[in-house]
């Protein structure tokens, strides 16, 4: 199975585990899309933003002595975007509407991020 297929498989399982999730993406830490269910036009921008959020979050965590970054949560009035560190090389971004079960999303997405980290290692 190619790396691309493995990543798509992990994303598919994540979406099946939490149907509330509205979008998923794996990007490199320098902001290139590796796998996603977003339309291509949106994917490039979303990958760059996910990498920026993760990169900035890492630096904030480091400066504030919080240890290694695990995730960054953006909560808007209409929903969530959570960016998870997936090892040293990857970023997993997940979107969900307001009212979604964030605890369940964290549970499944952290596990998916660990699989993504192995795949990219």
């Amino acid at each position: 199975m190619s790396r691309q297929e493995e990543l798509q498989g992990i994303l598919r399982e994540l979406r099946q585990a939490v149907p509330e999730i509205t979008g998923v993406m794996v990007a490199s830490t320098d902001g290139l899309s590796l796998a996603t269910d977003l339309p291509e036009a949106e994917a490039a921008r979303a990958a760059a933003m996910a990498a920026t959020a993760l990169g900035l979050g890492k630096r904030i965590a480091q400066t504030s002595a919080l240890g290694g970054l695990e995730e960054v949560v953006v909560r808007g009035q209409a929903g969530y975007l959570v960016v998870y560190a997936a090892g040293d090389k990857g970023v997993l971004a997940v979107t969900a509407p307001m009212g979604a079960n964030l605890g369940l999303i964290h549970l499944e997405a952290r596990s998916a991020a660990a699989h993504i980290a192995q795949t990219l290692a």
């Binding site: 490199s28 902001g31 990958a47 933003m49």
Partner: protein, 176 residues
């Protein structure tokens, strides 16, 4: 009110933005560099911002460096907010990046009309575009284009003073 200046440092990948801020900052530079997965001629690349701070004659100067890659252009807008001036760096030995530099300059100055200087880096190399050539290329007056070496604090300070003179409309009288 005490004065302070926010300046933005932008330009294409590999122009020397992070190095420029490192050369000038008196505090450890806040960097957000990540391993580059594309071949961009260096190992790491800025994904969010660089931040450095120095004081020049008692005036705090805040330096915000942008990512160079166009996919991070949303950060250009974020960082230029409230800036009083822009330093656009181009590598003098990478003329193929000049169109990208011109794009960044037009992107930023059309949305946020701030004074700017163009710094032509790597003037220590033997085969390099001079500031005069680059001024011609960008159609800018010579005094808005400075030759420099981003690794040299003295050289970086001279470029900084040029933009501060444009921002303040005064000749810099300080001791440095």
């Amino acid at each position: 009110m005490s004065r302070s200046y926010k300046l933005v440092v932008s330009g294409p990948v590999g122009a020397g933005k992070t190095t420029f801020i490192q050369s000038l900052s008196e505090i450890p530079v806040v960097e957000t560099d990540e391993l580059a997965t594309e071949d961009i001629g260096k190992e790491k690349t800025t994904v969010a911002l660089d931040y450095g701070l120095l004081t020049l004659d008692g005036v705090p100067i805040h330096l915000f460096g942008t990512p160079g890659q166009e996919r991070f252009d949303f950060m250009w807008d974020v960082l230029v907010e409230g800036a009083l001036g822009l330093v656009l760096l181009v590598a003098g030995d990478q003329p193929r990046d000049f169109p990208k530099a011109r794009h960044i300059l037009e992107y930023l100055t059309s949305r946020h009309p701030v004074p700017f200087v163009v710094g032509v880096t790597r003037q220590d190399l033997p085969r390099v575009w001079t500031p005069e050539d680059v001024a011609d290329y960008f159609g800018l007056p010579q005094e808005q284009v400075v030759g420099m070496n981003a690794t040299s604090p003295t050289s970086a300070t001279l470029a900084l003073i040029r933009i501060l003179e444009l921002v303040t409309g005064e000749r810099w009288q300080g001791v440095w």
